[in-house]
């Protein structure tokens, strides 16, 4: 099937504006602004079944319909923080198919009545931001951004904003704080961004991949989109495949494709032909899933992955083979979360500090079974008590690692 999101793999030079235009680019945006009411755009997105691609899978059209029309101005912010270990899809979109992403962002701005859209990129995407700035300038020159677009009263500007190396800024309210020039620490919710967002104004935040779907949905219709994927999860998804596979990379597949297809058909199987021991379907924030034939044949969509003890999240599939010890994996993930905890709430700040010293002790062979029990206890104590999802994420691999791979921890404490 031709790509819907990674279209640069089928259409060379689609990151050039004339090539993008020749391939139907900006037709959807022009049609929306000149012929459609904003709420009709939202209705199409709602009917398409599109769900957010940043991890939580929240229905996109429904989010847009929550925008508070009593409070103005409105903003739309694209979340291009992409910092979950194992995730590298938004970067490929922005580098290679930037106009489709920007058109999707523009459509969203029109749908919710925003005259300014921002792209918040992680600071390391310095070159990507410079590239997007060029593309935005080209859109302005071609009349797709600016004042009174297509002779209507609608005006739109898009700006990039660089973060500076903080995973927590991917959390949408921390992202907003960061954009306001503060430390990136999550806000207490509710209120949610569609009523209280950037500068306290109604704001829609979506992931880069989410926006990139929108021009194709507007062009081909909600029913077309819904016909792809599964009843629970409409459309296509980019799976970032990493770890011990022969061909790591991004693969765009319809929801409902299986782990086996992703790992063996596309990823070329495991290095040295070894068996898959575990997968993490949502990056470092994932549960560790024990892999057998049944798991390999599981359909990848939001609902089905839940039945095998995990979440699909951002679909960053990390493959672990039988040479990998889970005490090592957990030590790595906690090293990450300890570093990235923003420190605002005690369970996450202290819990990760504690978990780090325990995972290091266990992995380095200085631990006893009591340390493993204590680690599990600390992780479980944290669950449900943290202000934002990062705290919860940090416990996932620890708890599932110890509970599902006890032999690895036994081996570690007897080292």
């Amino acid at each position: 099937m031709a790509h819907i999101l990674l279209r640069h793999r089928d259409v060379p030079d689609i990151n050039k504006i004339d090539v993008y235009k020749k391939n139907g680019g900006f037709d959807a945006f022009k049609k929306a602004v000149t012929k459609m009411k904003p709420e009709d755009v939202t209705a199409v997105v709602k009917n398409s079944g599109l769900r957010g691609r940043g991890g939580a899978g929240f229905p996109t059209g429904m989010k847009w319909s929550f925008i508070d029309n009593k409070n103005w101005p409105h903003y739309v912010v694209a979340n291009a923080d992409e910092s979950e270990p194992g995730t590298f899809k938004d970067r490929e979109i922005m580098e290679s198919n930037p106009f489709q992403f920007l058109e999707g962002l523009a459509l969203s701005c029109y749908a919710v009545g925003a005259n300014v859209g921002y792209v918040y990129l992680r600071g390391e995407f310095w070159q990507v931001a410079a590239f997007l700035d060029e593309k935005i300038a080209e859109m302005e020159k071609a009349g797709f951004l600016g004042d009174k677009l297509f002779g209507t009263e609608y005006s739109l500007r898009i700006y990039t904003h660089l973060g500076a190396g903080a995973y927590i800024c991917g959390e949408e309210t921390a992202l907003l704080e960061s954009m306001e020039g503060k430390r990136g620490q999550p806000r207490v919710r509710p209120p949610f961004p569609p009523s209280y967002g950037l500068y306290g104004k109604p704001t829609i935040i979506n992931n880069v991949e989410t926006f990139t779907n929108v021009p194709m949905i507007m062009a081909n219709g909600a029913d077309w989109y819904k016909s792809l994927g599964t009843a629970d999860s409409a459309g296509v998804k980019i799976f970032s495949l990493s770890g011990r596979v022969r061909k790591p990379g991004n693969y765009e597949l319809p929801f409902g494709s299986t782990f086996r297809q992703l790992i063996y058909e596309y990823g070329g199987g495991v290095q040295e032909g070894r068996p898959v021991k575990a997968i993490m379907p949502a990056g470092a924030s994932s549960s560790l899933i024990v892999v057998d034939d049944k798991v390999l044949d599981t359909q990848m969509d939001y609902a089905t992955v839940r039945t095998i003890g995990g979440d699909l999240g951002s679909a960053s599939v990390i493959v672990l083979d039988d040479t990998v010890d889970m005490d090592w994996v957990v030590n790595k993930t906690i090293h990450f979360f300890k570093h990235e905890s923003c420190g605002k709430c005690t369970p996450c700040r202290e819990g990760n500090y504690w978990m780090q010293s325990l995972t290091a002790k266990i992995h380095e062979g200085r631990g006893k079974q009591e340390d493993v029990d204590l680690l599990l206890n600390v992780a479980k104590q944290m669950q449900g008590k943290c202000l934002c999802a990062l705290g919860e994420f940090s416990t996932m691999a620890v708890v599932t690692g110890i509970e599902r791979f006890p032999q690895d921890f036994k081996k570690a404490v007897n080292r």
Partner: protein, 168 residues
């Protein structure tokens, strides 16, 4: 010299991105500008930015402290930041970094004696399928180097030593 004097065009462009009454939002891009030449933000620059945005110097300093790409101390001209996070580590990133240390004769966190490269280990850079990889943060901004070998990295370091980027 103040940022407005040194980079008038850039400062204007940055401030234009945000509503005039929300100019505090410009603190992050201004810090990148302040850091451009010396690789760290000194006290005078923090004062300068605080004044420009009507916030306190402490607030600016707390931003510098919070985000890992801002630095308040001088290091090598280039920070070489190797990703050793889980997916990269599954593809040999730890060994790569170790070998690099051996070749350079420095430990992680240290700077080569000529002051050109500071070696650091960092978290995922969204290039997990192209490990071993690192970014360089220096006078010419941030650049990715992917699918690297120790040999090619040593060549890059030689090139960085000869480069005159950032020299006025």
């Amino acid at each position: 010299m103040s940022l407005e004097k040194k980079y008038p065009k850039e400062v204007k462009q940055i401030l234009a991105k945000y509503p005039p009454e929300q100019k505090r939002s410009a603190v992050m891009p201004l810090l990148y500008l302040a850091q451009r030449e010396e690789g760290y933000v000194n006290k005078a620059a923090m004062q300068n930015i605080a004044q420009m945005l009507d916030i306190t110097e402490t607030e600016v300093a707390s931003i510098v402290g919070f985000y890992s790409l801002y630095h308040d101390e001088k290091a090598g001209k280039y920070r070489m930041q190797v990703c050793t996070d889980l997916p990269c580590a599954l593809r040999g990133a730890d060994e790569f970094l170790n070998n690099l240390c051996g070749n350079l004769g420095i430990k992680v966190g240290e700077t080569t004696p000529d002051g050109v490269v500071t070696l650091e280990a960092v978290m995922c850079l969204a290039a997990c399928d192209k490990a071993p990889m690192f970014q360089t943060q220096g006078p010419d901004g941030i650049k990715y180097h992917e699918n690297m070998t120790v040999d090619r990295t040593m060549e890059l370091i030689e090139a960085l030593k000869k480069s005159d980027a950032g020299v006025k």
